[in-house]
């Protein structure tokens, strides 16, 4: 009876473990949004969110910075807010204007996009009530890959400085 050399066994085992590792490694890529127990950083992190206290009772603007920590571009496809019956994403056009971003907002891989005055905002319309400094507004952002991301945005006074966005650690 011929016994295979020990070194060959070890090598074979290493290949098997390696393959298993590769397979395992691929799982979070496709199922990250469903994996509640994932210890990885969330693919989309939203920072510096705030709603500017409006000077009217008609509408209000929410601002935030979206960090895409993944290796794949993601698209913010829709927005909703607990402060008003309607919400839409507005962003700057190439000509320097601003309009509803119906095609969604793409956040490139390993990148971030800041919505700030003149650059873009979530416009909250049909407000349910008066928004004043100190209150908070819930925003639901839906991404093509990362799914729904909930953001709690403080209402910042009309003349107060905007909070600064801190990225993922």
């Amino acid at each position: 009876m011929i016994r295979p050399p020990l070194s060959l066994l070890v090598a074979g085992l290493a290949v098997l473990i390696g393959m298993a590792g590769l397979v395992r490694g691929s799982i979070p890529q496709t199922a990250a949004a469903d994996s509640a127990s994932s210890v990885q950083t969330a693919p989309i992190v939203v920072g510096g969110a705030y709603v500017r206290e409006p000077a009217t009772t008609v509408n209000a603007a929410a601002y935030f910075t979206i960090f895409n920590t993944s290796d794949t571009p993601d698209v913010l496809t829709s927005v909703a807010s607990g402060a008003g019956a309607a919400a839409s994403l507005h962003s700057e056009t190439a000509s320097g204007g601003m309009k509803i971003t119906s095609a969604g907002l793409t956040i490139p891989a390993k990148s971030s996009i800041a919505l700030s005055p003149g650059k873009g905002h979530v416009m909250i319309e049909k407000l349910y009530g008066t928004l004043t400094a100190g209150q908070t507004v819930n925003l639901q952002l839906t991404f093509a890959r990362a799914g729904e991301v909930l953001v709690t945005a403080p209402v910042v006074g009309l003349l107060a400085p905007a909070p600064t966005a801190t990225g993922p650690k």
């Binding site: 000077a55 009217t56 509408n59 507005h90 320097g96 601003m98 003349l159």
Partner: protein, 223 residues
Amino acid sequence: MKVLLARARWAAVLAVALTALGSLLAGCGSSSGSAAKSSATTAELNDRVNGSTYQGVGLTPPQPRPQFTLKDTSGRTFKFGSATAGKPTLLFFGYTNCPDVCPQTLADITNALTTVPAKLKAETQVVFVTTDVKHDTAAVLKSYLGKFDVDLPTKFIGLYGTQSEIDAAQVASHITLAEDGGQTHSAEVLLYGSDDYARVAFLQSTNESGQIAHDLQLVSGVK
């Protein structure tokens, strides 16, 4: 809301390019560069290249204080040229349902005025001309501006008029005509000095209030 940015003016293009360059340089110098540091770098670059001491966007050639006639929020006729003559004046066109650039710009103006000496704070005229002829009545304008000027000694002046009167005011001020019922409008704030010329204007930026406070003191002879 929609905002048309500044006119394609050579000086403006240069200033924007320099601003971008300034930001880039600040970014290279320090990964945690603060907004204040970044704007200082931009200002230094502007000083060196075009000889301007302004932190806003320089206007070349300077624009004389325009003459146009509208109504103020008490319903009285307001002749901009004669009513504001000789006084430092900030002129801005916008509309009250604008959630983004308009309130931020008015807040920046208020915050700038709170930092300048008391005499200048009192004599500076802030004029907001609505581009939304249909919605912005005297009462709407008065309520809106009252949210911003509440702690200032001199109240903001809100002006409205017919579409042709508003158009004429924009033409006289060399501002891009607003479109879409006033919702696409220039974001430019014009600053007229005590010599009745505008040599600098401001666009929305992270340090617009600092820029306005700085340049307001220059054109009024405080600095």
